[in-house]
Amino acid sequence: MTCTEFLALLDDLIDDSVAAEARAELELHLRRCGHCEVILNTTRKTIEIYRSHQIYDLPAGLRERLHAAIMARCKKGC
């Protein structure tokens, strides 16, 4: 397996949706290729960091404003 072939299956590997046969080939490639191992680990870490440190928090008061807008709309006709 080449690095390009490895990259093509990177997402499937991360999402754990690789067939057993392909997984064995990917794992063999990983044992031999330090670069691809770094790419896999740091891509996994990228996802993990974005998942655990969620950006763009809800501004204070927005929920209340939205609630008031929904109630106002509702009074008009619902």
Binding site: D11, I39, T42, T43, I49, Y50, H53, L58, I70, M71
Partner: protein, 208 residues
């Protein structure tokens, strides 16, 4: 085995269906529950697309109001959240088009970015690299890093990797094909990794 067991979740209606039914029956508090459940996610999607806090606030409000008004058009064959995301994405794009007067902005445009998807930075990262930053610093790094990605990449990454939607639900929410979602996700992941490497690479190792 005497009987075929149903696949878990297949026959159980999604909990949102019951809430939607209550709203249709006139119970506004059920809509409040839906808002509370999804407000953060919808706000982040709007921020990713509009790149502007005020616009994102307006989009979030308009999307929830529009969804409320159009609830009769919501059909149970799609999930409420994917339907809501679709409304929020359209609202975000409309807002962006207004701001950029005339310039076309689209989520399904397949952008070839300069970075492409060939990893160049192959240095390993420090162990737990986020520990070297305060929460506020890390937040700025993550925002700055994702900001430059095309809108379609950001939203696919947000839905699939941050919010944990399936490829199929992401495709439905964004009106994209499954291969298009997959291709954007790979490029988003690789480009974010590449950009984060500048901050997180193992500096001690690099000096050796």
């Amino acid at each position: 085995m005497s009987a075929i067991q149903p696949i878990a979740g297949e026959l159980e209606p999604h909990p949102d269906v019951a809430l939607v039914d209550r709203v249709r029956g006139g119970d506004v508090s059920a809509y409040d529950a839906l808002v509370r459940k999804y407000e953060r996610q919808i706000f982040r999607i709007a921020q990713h697309i509009t790149q502007n806090r005020e616009d994102a606030e307006d989009v979030m409000q308009d999307a929830f109001l529009k969804a409320y008004e159009k609830l009769d058009q919501f059909q149970g064959n799609s999930k409420f959240y994917t339907w809501l995301v679709r409304i929020a994405v359209n609202e975000s794009l409309m807002r962006l088009r207004k701001r950029r007067t005339g310039k076309m902005v689209s989520i399904d445009e397949d952008v070839e970015t300069e970075e492409g998807s060939v990893p160049r930075d192959l240095a390993d990262w420090a162990p737990d690299p986020e520990q070297n930053y305060t929460q506020a610093e890390l937040g700025r790094v993550l925002e700055k890093t994702i900001k430059g990605l095309p809108p379609g990449f950001k939203v696919v990454f947000e839905l699939r990797d941050v919010q944990g939607l399936s490829t199929e639900d992401t495709a439905e929410a964004l009106g994209l094909s499954i291969p298009a979602v997959k291709s954007r996700l790979l490029r988003a992941r690789l480009q974010l990794r590449e950009r984060l490497s500048r901050y997180f690479r193992n500096k001690r190792g690099a000096k050796k």
